[in-house]
Amino acid sequence: MFFWVSAILLTIGAVLAVLAPLTRKPGSAEPAASHDLEVYRDQLAEVEREVERGTLDSTEADQARIEIQRRILGLAGDPGAGPAGGKGGFARMAGAAAVLSVPLVAWGVYGMLGSPDVPSQPLQARLEADPADATVDELVARAEAHLATNPEDGRGWDVIAPVYLRLGRAEDSVRAYATANRLLGPSATRESGLGEALATTTGGVVGEEAVAAFERAVALEPGHAKSLFYLATADAQRNLLDSAERRWAALLGQLPADSAWRMPTERALTEVRAEIAKAAVPGPTAEDVDAAAAMSEADRGAMIEGMVAQLDAKLRENPNDGPGWRRLVRSYVVMGRRDDAQEALKRGLAALDGGEADELANLAVSLGLSVEQ
């Protein structure tokens, strides 16, 4: 609405700027010669002033006066008439065309280029808009803006941390969990969240820092299911299969019947027992993981990349491995290589069948990948 009103007002103003002088009687105008005369008279006066100051001697001054007077005489032959007012049809036609052309050109060109229906969207107003209408990105941005101005709001950090993790912004999640822990004091939920976020930054490898976080969580709340599950996973990744099996078995024993952790724990237990039976060596060895924890950021990245490449190669040779495919796809997503993730997903779905394929598809959907049917 504001746009249409302002546009119409501006148009009226512009049209008036052209129209007004056309309808007004032209004022009297000086012929050009009278302007020249004024200049020459000033020059004469300037000569007098310079003589007075002594910067011009009398002969020079006389010469200058004669020259200027000669120029004034030259003007006499050039009466120079001032312009006349508008006359005849041409002026009227030209005037009308000029007045009309302003709105026509303006609305025509704007019609091609403009987006009159798109309102201004100042960031502040977007952040304050009704949350129900907002996209996830907007909600996160709003929370971030709030936290930027109130960095001591522990609750805020606590709320945003899991959201970050869901959005795949694991590093931000780690930072948010750590800040919330500092401001609100540790809790089992936050510590385990921190551990999960840390594990996500390293591509699913539960490193030393993450283990420490989970252990703190268990210390705060001895039966904390998620933490216990991850601690078992850490053991499994370090190839401490017996210890992992014991932890999962113990966890299964204490979980209530309706716990969401029951399914994954059962599956993990089956897998780890199969592994023990095969005495195979899945994933990185304990040394690898310890090394990863001690490494610098860049080196760790390189190591993870190497491991993922290894896994990828292994799956090419031996594609009938559901958990392997899931790990590969998740790793690619975490590393930000979505194209590779998509490609791995395609290969995995082609290689697997039944429940394993469904599970891989479910994981892919939860990671935001597209699953072709």
Binding site: E30, S34, H35, A91, G114, D137
Partner: protein, 659 residues
């Protein structure tokens, strides 16, 4: 608000079309009504572009990320002042600023040109309108700052960190005021050619515009030079970069124009020079715009470039430069000859000045465009740098500087060179003494450095001599002299101060060029770096977080002998949004000289490379430019430059037509 700005821009385009056509048709048919359309149209076009520009600035201030231009050049966490300046820190916004200033000058001509003869005024405004149409079309069609982006992202990509500096708030607007100010002179020249007559009053009207544009351009170039000096972290103040040259060429031509216009006003001579220089100066401004915006040259001003833009501006360039020069070729013959003069005279000196300045402009032009030419013709890629300009521009400037003090002392028409020389003896003696003193007392001074210092002193004292002579010294007593000095027209002070400023700048250039010292050290905390009698002790580095960057600050304790002189802080910043590092040099001004400390890369063993320069007299470079700017302002305030209306006595009786 955004769309209102967009609409206002398009409306300004429509109005500029009227402004470009109707008044000129009116002057052709001698129709006062049609001619009168120009003024209000020009003022309204300015108001509309101002609305448009304000809308863009508001969009930046509010971080409206539904505007593509804002997304590409802003960030919600950026300090507020840089959100505002970011509006013109990019191609689209800076072109809008360009047009804003163009229409501003058009409005000024309309508002202050009440005393202009109507046909001249109509033609001038129409020519301004044509330039406006060309550049508004350019913006609307190829560089529209109001392009929307939907859905709007939540965050922008941030402004190039090098541009996040107060320099950006000042440098482009000043520079554009200069560039575009010359469009008024161009419009006056073209208008005179269209009419086929050039009035005595013409030069009077052109002079203030030239002066104003020249003043702003001087300031803009100096500001840009200082900005590059402290921001780029390598302590250079002039790189002969193509874009710098692009602003320097109109300055050289504009300086010649300024001097020509004086002759034309006083003596009606040098009409051809003045017209040609007016056309040339603005053409070079347009060329500068083309070089910067098209990206045909490798330059530090690497805005995003786009071939269609280059072609468009090239078209504008061809139309305006070609058109005006054709008009010049057709009409210049019909201009009546002006006053005659002897070769040795003020006029003669100014012709020589013009000759030197235009030739210098030509060498810069060749040096700037030769690589383009070679690449287009032979396919070779070459670069022309400082050595070329030192070898060509330098030898042209030195004789010019040497004759500067003579000019104001020569009389019009027929001058007395020997007499002028005699009166300059004192200045010459002082300059000679300076040369000797530098050779004797300054270690490491070369003959060239001593001569350069002497030349600078000669130019400065020449300006002082001019002022003293005009006040009547030494013929009159000091008291009378002071009284007469106070009575001198302001433009006399302007001339003297501008020439003095030139000498000051030269002194700065010679000082840095000849006596600069440099030390590079790989330093650990506690290390001492000694330079030019000062000692810097490296105290270490700490990390600090800024609003949108993190920086490593290196601290140095400065001392001379036993006296501690505080600390210097030099840092390296990393702007997080673009992951882009910048060097923030630590600069300490000591008198008119500066110590310049720049941090390099950390080594493996925890040390860091530190580069320190001693830059003697460096601030004089910009101090001289500032003096020239002030000189321009003083001259501009001279009552005599304000063109008065023909007085009532001479006015023709107003005939009221019966209607």
């Amino acid at each position: 608000m955004v769309e209102t700005g967009h609409f206002a821009l398009v409306l300004a385009l429509a109005l500029s079309m009227v402004q470009a056509i109707v008044p000129i048709a009116g002057s052709h048919r001698n129709d006062a009504r049609l001619m009168a359309v120009g003024g209000p149209a020009a003022v309204t076009a300015f108001a509309l572009v101002a609305v448009s520009f304000a809308a863009l600035v508001v969009a930046y201030a509010q971080s409206d990320f539904s505007v593509l231009n804002v997304v590409e050049n802003s960030h919600s966490q950026k300090p507020f002042i840089y959100k505002l300046t970011g509006a013109w820190g990019n191609h689209e916004g800076s072109m809008l600023l360009w047009v804003l200033i163009l229409t501003f000058f058009g409005a000024l001509v309309a508002a202050f040109g009440r005393n202009l003869p109507p046909t001249l005024k109509a033609n001038v405004i129409a020519v301004q309108g044509m330039i406006g149409v060309a550049f508004l079309l350019f913006i609307v069609l190829t560089s529209n700052p109001f392009t929307r982006l939907l859905p709007a992202p939540m965050e922008g990509q941030d402004l190039n960190p090098v541009l996040q500096d107060i320099g950006l708030a000042i440098h482009p607007p000043l520079l554009y005021l200069g560039y575009v100010g010359f469009s008024v002179c161009f419009a006056f020249a073209v208008a005179a050619l269209i009419e086929g007559r050039i009035d005595a009053a013409w030069a009077r009207w052109v002079r203030p515009w030239t002066l104003a544009a020249w003043m702003f351009l001087t300031g803009g170039i100096a500001m840009g030079s200082y900005w590059a000096y402290y921001e780029l972290g390598w302590g250079g103040y002039w790189f002969w970069d193509p874009v710098e040259n692009a602003s320097f060429m109109p300055w050289l031509a504009g300086t010649a124009l300024l001097h020509s216009a004086i002759v034309m006003e006083k003596r009606s001579a040098l009409k051809i020079w003045t017209l040609l220089l007016a056309i040339l100066t603005f053409s070079l401004s347009l060329l500068g715009t083309f070089l910067v915006r098209s990206g045909v040259l490798t330059s530090v001003h690497a805005f995003a470039t786009d071939p269609t833009r280059g072609v468009f501006i090239l078209g504008i360039l061809v139309i305006f430069i070609g058109g005006s020069l054709t008009l010049f070729a057709l009409r210049a013959q019909s201009l009546t000859a002006g006053g005659l003069f002897q070769p040795i005279s003020r006029e003669g000196a100014l012709v020589l000045n013009n000759l030197f300045l235009t030739t210098a402009t030509a060498t810069v032009f060749v040096g700037t465009l030769y690589p383009l030419f070679v690449e287009a013709v032979f396919g070779d890629k070459i670069s022309v740098g400082a050595p070329f300009f030192n070898l060509t521009f330098g030898p042209l400037m030195l004789p010019l500087l040497a004759i500067v003090p003579f000019g104001p002392l020569l009389a019009w028409k027929r001058g007395d060179l020997a007499g002028a020389g005699q009166r300059l003896l004192a200045a010459f003696g002082a300059a000679l003494l300076t040369v000797l003193a530098v050779l004797l007392f300054v270690d490491s001074a070369s003959v060239l450095a001593a001569l350069g210092t002497g030349l600078a002193v000669w130019v400065m004292l020449g300006a002082v001599t001019d002022l003293a002579l005009k006040a009547g010294w030494p013929r009159v007593s000091a008291a009378v002299g002071v009284r007469r000095l106070a009575g001198l027209p302001r433009s006399v002070f302007g001339t003297a101060l501008a020439h003095f400023g030139l000498g000051v700048t030269l002194l700065g250039i010679v000082g840095v060029g000849a006596f600069e010292q440099e030390a590079i050290h790989s330093s650990k905390p506690g290390d001492r770096i000694e330079i030019a009698g000062y000692a810097l002790t490296f105290q270490g580095i700490n990390q600090v977080a800024g609003p949108n960057y993190v920086e490593d600050q290196g601290h140095f304790a400065l001392s001379r002998g036993d006296a501690a002189l505080g600390t210097i802080m030099s840092s390296k910043r990393l702007y997080t949004a673009r992951g882009m590092p910048t060097t923030e040099a630590g600069i300490r001004t000591l008198g008119v000289s500066q110590l310049y400390v720049s941090l390099g890369d950390p080594g493996e063993d925890g040390s860091i490379v530190v580069r320190v320069w001693w830059k003697p007299l460096v601030t004089l470079i910009w101090g001289g430019a500032l003096a020239m700017m002030i000189a321009g302002a003083i001259s501009l305030s001279d009552r005599r430059l304000r063109v008065g209306a023909p007085s009532k006595r001479w006015k023709q009786p107003t005939v009221v037509a019966a209607e």
